[in-house]
């Protein structure tokens, strides 16, 4: 699954790496005793979400990527843990100071939105931001496809799952609960546009 571009190196590890990471993080989460209380669903959701992101960051290249680094830093800060990152922050901030003067106003507002989306994007030049975005997209899609899917499979205790991706043709997909909702469920993740992730659990 790893693809490489000549000038840009956006190699992404295999899917299974993501899956493994995610599962490990999930299992770690479950180790926490306060995790399974049903009332704190939101809290749990957030934790799972954070676990997903962090596992993805770790799987995608650890500290080699700016966005993963920023993600890990952010997570570590929240957990009051010290993350040993390489000494590249100074350079990043210097880049930010420099790049503030030479930004194309035309694309700046879009780049700003992208910066808000991609973790750690605030301190990057636009060209670097593009690269990070590409890698981020790759990792996200891979993780969504495989890791979460795997975890779902594990969690739901099903034998086999089918993973579908909506193409451009299908805009919406209706969830049809079957007789046994616990066993047969179809998750449709779609943003109403072209991309969607449909997990049909058999």
């Amino acid at each position: 699954m790893a693809s490489a571009d000549k000038p840009l190196n956006t190699d992404v590890p295999e899917k299974d790496v993501f899956a493994l990471h995610f599962l490990q993080s999930l299992s770690n989460l479950r180790r926490q005793h306060t995790f399974n209380s049903p009332d704190k669903t939101n809290h749990r959701v957030n934790k799972i979400k954070k676990a997903a992101y962090v596992s993805m960051a770790r799987a995608a290249g650890g500290t080699n990527r700016l966005w993963s680094r920023a993600l890990l830093r952010r997570a570590a800060k929240e957990n009051n843990r010290v993350v040993g990152l390489s000494r590249r922050n100074k350079r990043v901030t210097w880049l930010r100071r420099r790049s503030n003067n030479r930004r194309d106003p035309l694309e700046e507002k879009d780049a700003e939105r992208l910066r808000n989306l991609v973790p750690g994007g605030g301190a990057m030049e636009t060209s670097k931001l593009m690269e990070e975005t590409a890698h981020y997209i790759k990792c996200l899609s891979m993780q969504l496809g495989k890791a979460v899917f795997e975890s779902l499979k594990c969690v739901l205790g099903v034998r086999s799952c089918r993973l579908f991706t909506l193409s451009n043709k299908l805009k919406k997909f209706t969830i049809s609960p079957t007789a046994n909702p616990s066993r047969n469920s179809c998750l449709v993740l779609s943003n109403g546009m072209k991309w969607g992730l449909c997990v049909a659990v058999l």
């Binding site: 790496v17 899956a19 599962l23 989460l29 694309e107 992208l114 030049e125 060209s127 193409s167």
Partner: protein
Amino acid sequence: MDVSEKDELRNGDTTVNYDDSANNQPADWRVSGSNPVSDSYPTENNLISSCSPSQMMDSFGQTLWYDPTNVQAVGGYGGFNGGNNASSSSSSFRGIDRSVEMSWNLPNLLPPKGNGMFLPNAGSFLPPSMAQFPADSGFIERAARFSLFSGGSFSEMMNQQQQPLGNPESIGLFLQGQCPSNEVNVGVAHNDAMKETNVRASEQGNKQNVPGSGNVSEDTQSSGGNGQKGGETSSKGFDSKKRKRNSQNPEADQSHKSQQSEEEADNNGGGGDKKRNDEQSPNSQGNKTNSGKQQQGKQASDPKDGYIHVRARRGQATNSHSLAERVRREKISERMKFLQDLVPGCNKVTGKAVMLDEIINYVQSLQRQVEFLSMKLATVNPQMDFNLEGLLAKDALQLRAGTSSATPFPPSMPMVYPPLPHGFMQQTLSSMGRNISSPLSPPINGGYKRQETNGWEGDLQNVIQINYGAGDVPPDSQAAATEASHPSSNMKVEP
């Protein structure tokens, strides 16, 4: 041959004229013969060869030239125009010199002997009469010589005043028709001769340009070459454009055989470590020394060692800031193209803004999906209690083929989460124990990018190793593969 004939005709006619009415009408250097070329051709030749330069010079009187070429007579006679600067004359002299020297190599219309006779005499002839224009006289002589050889200079000189550039083929017409405005033409004669030499040089250099345009291109090229040298300083003081071009011509004439290489040489001299590219000739074509707005970006933004040298394109500003800006924009557009391949369905979209919007939407949707799935996971979390360990092991089993040994084994998340307790691993191992046929092989160490932090990682590696050893078919990835090959067209496995 026509040209050669005309040249010879000119020579003969002027010679005849000089001999006859040298003192009477020194201005009447024009060919009165007006003749059909064929007539006096042989005779003129004889005359030319027979006449001694000194004799011809004497017949003139003061500054008239013996010459077969009217240019000389004109130039010597009327003196140069007041605007003739010494520098210009000297530079043009140099230019003519070179052109003449080049012309030696050209198929000469006149016998070389005759030329050899003329030149030294011209040199000797010059000092007494043309003290104030020593260089110019010699220059004029050589210009005349060159124009003689080229055959087109006459009309050029004639027509300098009347029209920008004359057709060299119509020399015969102008020969007769020229008014005795020698003085006027004198000043520009050498200029025209210079240009003519350039034209000739360019033409003989196998340029396909029309002489007029060739001259222009020659000039532009020379001016480009000069521009590359930082501007032709001597040209600044000239009133007329012709002078400026003449001054620049010497540089252009240096390698008249190969103008392009000369341009390159100039570029090399001036550019230094600038990158050469295909835009060099268009650069020189469009380069004007006086107008900076059209100047090609000869200098990159201060070439620093180890940096990528960038050359400004034609018609673009050469400011170092703009150059860097352009590089940056190119980088961004290149990455945008790469992103376009990633985001599905963005092939039709063009434009940076729309593409960026698409990318942003895609990233947002991906993040939303993550959130959605995590929510889903959270809701079903309570069921994970007893499933997870077994499933994890099973999943590790299934991961085998997809992950080669080179794949970096994912370490745990020691920094964020509490490490997986050893008990879990032991349980897993025990569960797998019956399936294990081979002893635990050493952990996979290929390509680990991340540091190992906990000891239980080794256990995990062992688990994975077991999975590698066991089984042949990776059910999970194969299931994914089958999904990929599923005939349902609308669906494809998430890559």
